[in-house]
Each structure stands twice: as C-alpha cells, then as structure tokens.
C-alpha cells in the first residue's frame, strides 16, 4: 500500500491536535502503521495548526509532504497546503465558511456542514470531531473504533462529554455516508495486524526515564520538550520520584546535580536555549563526576529562533559546551523508539561513567507521534557502576584507577564525600599541584576511552550493503531517509546515533567502502560532516542541507538523491 496522508488544518485552539491524534490512533487500531507530524506557530490561539498523519500497511518511519485527504477548517489551510495535494485527492470543507477553493487541480471537494452540525449539537468546538467522523466514513473506516478512543479520552470528563463527542462523530459519519457514498475509498478499512502503541519522542523519553530508574527531574518548560514534564508530573506519586519546576534552567541542572550527589538518579530536559543556561553546570557535573542525564530537544536557532520548528543546529554546541575539557557522552536517537531505549541507557551510562550524558533529539522526534510494536524494556538492567552505600575506610571520592572510574558514595552514607568544582586531589580537597592536576585530568578523560571500549554501539547501515550512493545522517533524519530508501533501492543509509564517544573506526570502514557519499543534515554548515572529517579524515564534499525549520520529506529527498544516481 502506498503511504496515505490525512491532514487536518485550522486555527490553533480548536482541538485539532487531539482530533488528529485520535485519527492516528484509529488508523493504528485499524491495523495500519502511522506517523503523525505537526506544524504550529508559537501561539496558543489564532495561529495556523496543521497535522499530517501518514499511514500504511507497511511501516511508516517519517513525515510526508504530499496530502491525500485534507480537512480544511479555514482558508489558510487551503492556501498553504493545496499545492501539496496529490492528484485526485479529497478536500473536505464546509461551504458555510465560504472558503475560496481553487479550481483547475483535479481535486475532489467534499462539502460537509460541520459548522452547523456542531452547532446543532450545542458546541462549535465539536466541528473537528464532526469532520473526523465524516472523514472516517469517506475512507471506509470503522466508527466503533473511534467510539472506543473517545470513551478512553473523555473517561475523566464523564458520560456527557463522551456522548457529545460520540454524537458529533456520528453526525459527520452519517452525513458523509448519506450524501457522498460514491466517494468512499477503501483506504482505512480495518485490517488484521500485530499490536502497536503510538507515542511521540517526549513520551518515549519520559517512559525511558521511568523505566531507567529516574528519581529526580528538574525541568523548566520550553518547547519542544515541555511535554516530557507534562507526562512526568502527574506520575510522581505512583512511580515514586520527584519532578520539580525550578526558577530557571541554571537551577534545574544544579538541583539535578545536588540530587545526584545525594544518590538520586537525576535528569533535566530542555531545548538549545535552556541548555545555554545549563552549560555552566554541565561542566560542573563533568568536573565533580556527578552523573546526570540531559535531554536536549533542538529547535530552529539561534536565540529564540523558530520556537516550534525543527533543526539539527546544536550538534557542535553539545559537543563543545562549557570551558575546558571533560568527558561527555552524547546519544542522538532517530525516533521515539530509539529515544526510549537510549534514555534508559543514558541513566546507566551516567552512573557507570559518573559524567553527564546528553540525549540529543529535536522537535520532530519530540512531537511526532509514531506507531511501534509495544516498547520492550525486558533486556534492560539497572547498572549503577562503581557505587557503595557502606562506610569505607579512608574513602577517596576521586581515587585513581586504570579505567578512570572511582568508587562513588552518595552524601549521607557516612563517608566523607566531597564534590569539588575546583581541581581536587583524590579526596576532593582543592589543589593546584601539577601532578594532581595531571592525574585527575587524565583520570576524567580516560573514562571516555573506557566508555568507547565497553559501550559504543556502531552506527547502523540501512539498505543494501553495496549501494550506488551512501547517505550519512544522524538523529532525526532517520525517518525521512528510511522512507526515501523504499523508493531508491540503490541507496543505503549510515545512521549515527552515538555521537560521543565517536564511532570513528566503524564510520570510516563504511565510508571507505561507499561509492558515493552524501551528508544529509538539518543545519546550515553540515556539522556532522565536519565531525566525520575531524574524526576520520574523510571529507564529504556533497551535502544536502536544510535549515528552514521543516524536516526533510521523502518527496524532496527522492528528487535530490536521484540526481546523484
């Protein structure tokens, strides 16, 4: 089945997000794999919101630009998206809104009075639910599945809310069946499939933190990672952890460091701008060898930039943030499933190497909903590394060792535990002596070598081993490139999700074999390309770069890559 994209657009503040997510859930429960991408401005009301749910019987890994079914709740939806409609596709509108509908394109306009139907049910806000019901009818979906979803969604709001939403969906469904029965296409017909769940990257990170034993999180709200705190905050009692909203990101990371010093598994989450404020204490965690997990969700930058759009502009920033040198582990999951597993792992890595671990994601991974086989953490085991809760004679927090890792004791265990941002001796007392400085610096940096030896997971090569063209990318571009590969069998894709320590040998091995290489990144200067050159000596001359806040779409990558074949 060719991927099919359902899209709904309208003013912000009208519940388009939840309605679209319900559509995705319905597609998933009807047996389809789906990926939901959203675009919205940095406003609460009045801006333009649009959701794209692409679904197929085959796995869908990334967002598509081409729309096959558009629900237009305002003129802007028509104006912005009509050019991306596929031939013969359907546009649902309400003629009462008197939208200016372009002619000439072979589009099928379906006029559904969702405004008056919603009004007759007593709430204009129900118009997108009416539209959803009509869309389900036109795509041959099963309304009973939607009823189930509504029941779960409004369980807390009570029977009246459930009934209202049922009726709205039913009204739209019935109207479409009655007046447009000939237009019905068997696109969303329920089909058998394996059990799936649908989550976005923010939820995946929150779940990864919970599964990974997180005990303390301090998160100052910032798009696109605020949803992590929205997921975590209500779960604190049940899962026995603390979520704290601090006064700023500086406080967030210092609190996390304090909690970790006292023995709690700790994390922070922010975006690039918040991480700017955290850079000071990022290095403090490195110097004091305090384990913390930092989630950084990139968005268009610099400064306030494009707050609700995506970018991969922070790679070099994360790698070099803070003065001087200390070991940092940087992971860059390419989708929500990887984000779940890598967040869990990040907590183990932070403890084992007693240093900050960054999980670097972006708006696309953070906020795109994707269906997966239920997340499975059965292979994961908590590993706290070298830690003691006993009183150790002559305890030395920063004792030298061949792997660079010392025995950690939390404060309050009866040991004299010192964390010191000044250079320190093996006990933690401040010192400026040459020998001690050299020994402690080497000890800290050795941890990264140890980590590389023991933990490093090699980048994955997707597609054929022998390809005409090799695409190199990291993190979030995974989805669009994998979708592109479906159409270009002679192309393969080297996806990096371990950034530091850098898998230099493995990257070099793959790239030396490649016939032609193109580096694909969502930034201006090709930061990964630069990093590969630095670490392997291989200079990739060919880049496909984009920095307009939008992700890569397979439609444009197919064109770009085909030029190179």
């Amino acid at each position: 089945m060719k991927p099919f994209t359902f899209s709904m657009g309208g003013e912000a503040g009208y519940g388009i997000a939840s309605t679209s997510l319900n559509f995705s859930k319905l597609a998933m429960r009807s047996g389809y794999s789906c990926y939901t991408y959203l675009e919205y401005p940095s406003l609460i009301r009045g801006g333009h919101n649009v959701f794209f749910t692409t679904f197929s019987k085959e796995k869908i890994s990334g967002p598509y630009k081409t729309i096959d079914f558009l629900v237009a709740l305002n003129q802007e939806t028509i104006d912005r998206h009509i050019e991306n409609m596929s031939k013969g596709s359907m546009v649902m509108h309400d003629s009462a809104q008197k939208l200016n509908l372009p002619t000439g394109k072979s589009l099928h306009y379906v006029d559904i009075p969702f405004m008056s139907l919603a009004r007759s049910l007593g709430a204009i806000l129900l118009r997108d639910v009416v539209a959803l019901g009509a869309a389900i009818a036109l795509l041959d979906g099963d309304l009973k599945i939607l009823d189930g979803i509504i029941k779960e969604e409004f369980a807390k709001k009570g029977e009246a809310a459930i009934k209202r939403n049922f009726e709205a969906a039913q009204a739209g469904f019935d109207y479409a069946k009655k007046y447009f029965s000939l237009a019905v296409k068997p696109i969303l017909t329920p089909t058998k499939s394996t059990k799936k769940m649908i989550i976005n990257g923010n939820e995946a990170v929150a779940f990864g933190a919970l599964a990974g034993g997180m005990q303390f999180s301090a998160i100052y709200p910032m798009t696109p990672t605020s949803n992590i705190l929205h997921v975590l905050a209500p779960l604190q009692e049940e899962y026995k952890f603390i979520y704290k909203q601090p006064e700023d990101e500086i406080s967030a990371i210092n609190m996390a460091i304090g909690a970790s010093f006292a023995g709690a598994r700790s994390m922070v989450a922010t975006s690039g701008g918040g991480f700017c404020l955290m850079t000071e204490a990022f290095g403090l965690a490195g110097m004091t060898e305090t384990p913390i997990v930092v989630i950084e969700g990139m968005r268009g930058a610099p400064a306030t930039g494009l707050p609700t759009w995506t970018e991969q502009g922070d790679l070099r920033f994360i790698l070099h943030a803070h003065q001087g040198e200390f070991p940092r582990i940087v992971l860059a999951p390419g989708d929500a499933e990887e984000a779940f597993h890598m967040t869990m792992k990040a907590f183990n890595l932070a403890d084992k190497y007693q240093t900050p671990v960054v999980v670097l994601i972006d708006k696309l991974v953070c906020e795109s909903f994707q269906s997966f086989a239920p997340l499975d953490s059965s292979k994961f085991k908590i590993d706290q590394g070298k830690i003691t809760y006993d009183v150790i004679r002559n305890y030395q927090r920063y004792a030298l060792s061949s792997d660079g890792i010392s025995l950690r004791a939390p404060a309050g265990t009866g040991n004299h535990v010192m964390g010191n941002s000044d250079e320190h001796d093996t006990y933690g007392y401040s010192t400026e002596e040459i020998e001690t400085r050299n020994a402690q610096m080497k000890k800290r940096m050795t941890k990264l070598t140890t980590c590389a030896k023991k933990e490093l997971i090699e980048p994955k090569l997707y597609g054929p081993k022998n390809a005409e063209l090799t695409v190199v990318g990291w993190g979030t571009t995974k989805g669009a490139v994998l979708e592109t590969l479906k159409q270009l069998p002679k192309v393969n894709f080297l996806h990096l999700n371990w950034i530091s320590p850098f898998p230099a040998d493995s990257v070099a091995k793959h790239l030396k074999k490649a016939k032609k290489i193109v580096n694909v990144e969502l930034n201006y200067s090709g930061q990964l390309g630069g990093l590969i050159a630095e670490k392997t000596g291989i200079k990739i001359a060919d880049n496909i770069l984009k920095f307009d806040g939008r992700p890569f779409f397979p439609e444009e990558l197919v064109v770009e890559l085909s030029k190179r074949l």
Binding site: K196, K240, I242, M255, I382, A411, V417, G419, S421, S430
Partner: protein
C-alpha cells in the same frame, strides 16, 4: 556522631588571611556541629565560590563546592533527594546576592528546609576587592574608584520579602551567639537565612572588627520575631550604633519537603533505584 571539634579538622591548612571574618564562622559552625552531632551520616554542606567556599576544605563533613552563585540550587537538590540530611549553604554576599540572587529568592519562596549562612563582608575578596551588592553607597573600591553610586541590598529584607521563614543576623566575632543562631536556624523547619557580618581585613577598610563591635546591638526580649511588620521595621535598621543582631524574624509554615506526600514515608533515596514496569502505563497508548 561528631564529638570533638578536632574530628572536624582536615589535613588541609587554612588559607584565609590573618584576622579574616571566616574564622569566626568556621569556629562557630564546628562548635554547633559538635553540640548537635552533625556528621557524615546526617549532614551535607554546599558552598559557592569566593573566600567563604574554602571552608569546605577545612571541615570533615560531606560537601559540594559548586559554582559561583549556584550553591542554593545544589542544596535544594540534595535536600529533595535526602531530606533527612541537615543541609547548610555557605555563601558570600557576591555569591548569594549578585550572581545567585534569583536562586536565593526562589528558595526562600519555596521555604525549603535548608540553612543559608551568608558570609557578608560587603566586598569581593577572592577577586581582590571590588564592590559587592552589600557595599554601601559611595564605597571606593577597584571597580568603583569614584565611589559606588548604587544602593546596597538588604539581605534581611530581601529574604523576608521572598518568603524566608527564619531570618537572623549575627556578627562572626561573637562566636557563642553565632553558634546558637546556627543551631536555631537548622532546627527551624523551613528556609533559614543568617546574615553574618564579617570583616574582610584585607580589602574592606570600612566594615572592620572595630566597626561591628561598636555598632551592633543584640535584640532583646522586647523584639517579637513572629510579627512580620515589626520585624521588617527592624530589618531596615542600619547605621551607627544601630545594627541589630539576633533572630529578626521567625514564623511557622510548612516546609517544601513537608508538603511532598512521597517524602512522608521516607527520603527519596531510601527507595532503591530499580527498573519500573510500565505495562499499566503503556495500556493508555495502544
């Protein structure tokens, strides 16, 4: 259980200037620690950056020396993770009121059960003598060679306005008095601030030992520390023969930690770190 001040010593030699006000704070704190049995099982110390921060090298108690201005959030994190610990913050006037002002007011607002010992020498000592937020108007220093044109901050008023529930002032030269106040501040359930007047013998030629000895007076029984308007009035007093020391304000309010239901059954770190089963949670996402 710490029994003698000798047990609190470390192998590191003290490096403050002869006559530095930090000695009095150090001595008073050691005495309080012995009296109350503060040790590595029940106590954690945090300091910022400045001459005051060196104190952590001279105390055999678990400690974290953080960044300039950031001692309080580290202490907040420690307290949230293990609220059974006595948590003390040593901070300077530049550290706490300049670089760390935001953390100071918000920790006070939260009424976290930590004790802040503010080493207030009204100057930047470690960076060799610049004006601080506590330096008076007209103060001549390396950064204000023509005299300081800014008004100083009043940490007592600031702490009270922000919501601190225990606010005191002490002079470090009166070690017994400071010791008593440190003990009381720690016993208080909530955010406690002690503004400790201390001379910087090297760089501040205005606020000397003699100046403080001549101009402070102890608050007597007539001062009712539980009445906020009167306490605020007292907090505004500053001048020749008119610097009150003692507990200026104390009120009862639930501490931040007391209001977290999870902490009623024990500290956060008393829960073993374990993998959580999310089967139930995932059922909402299928």
């Amino acid at each position: 259980m710490t029994k003698t001040t000798e047990e609190l010593l470390t192998p590191v030699n003290c490096n403050w200037c002869t006559g530095c006000g930090n000695f009095g704070i150090w001595t008073a704190f050691k005495k309080a620690a012995v009296e109350k049995g503060w040790d590595n099982h029940n106590t954690a110390l945090v300091a910022g950056i400045g001459c005051h921060g060196h104190i952590l090298n001279f105390l055999n108690l678990s400690s974290f020396e953080g960044l300039h201005g950031r001692a309080i959030p580290v202490a907040s994190g420690i307290k949230l993770a293990n609220h059974k610990l006595n948590v003390f913050v040593f901070t300077g006037d530049g550290d706490c009121l300049s670089e760390g002002g935001n953390h100071f007011i918000h920790a006070a607002r939260r009424n976290q059960n930590i004790t802040v010992i503010l080493h207030d020498n009204a100057i930047y000592g470690l960076t060799t003598g610049q004006t601080s937020p506590r330096s008076p108007k007209g103060f001549v220093s390396k950064s204000t060679p023509f005299g300081n044109i800014e008004e100083p901050l009043n940490p007592i008023q600031l702490a009270m306005a922000a919501g601190a529930t225990f606010v005191a002032r002490a002079y470090e030269g009166d070690i017994e008095h400071l010791k008593e106040i440190v003990i009381r501040a720690n016993a208080h359930r909530g955010f406690a601030v002690i503004d400790v007047l201390q001379p910087c013998v090297t760089f501040n030629k205005l606020y000397t030992h003699i100046f403080y000895q001549e101009n402070i007076y102890k608050l007597g029984r007539e001062h009712d520390a539980s009445k906020k308007p009167a306490a605020l009035q007292k907090a505004m007093e500053w001048g020749l023969k008119k610097i009150p020391v003692g507990v200026i304000y104390e009120s009862k309010a639930p501490s931040y930690e007391e209001q977290i239901p999870l902490l009623k059954s024990g500290s956060l770190v008393s829960n073993k770190i374990k993998k959580r089963d999310l089967t139930k949670l995932f059922s909402k996402y299928v």
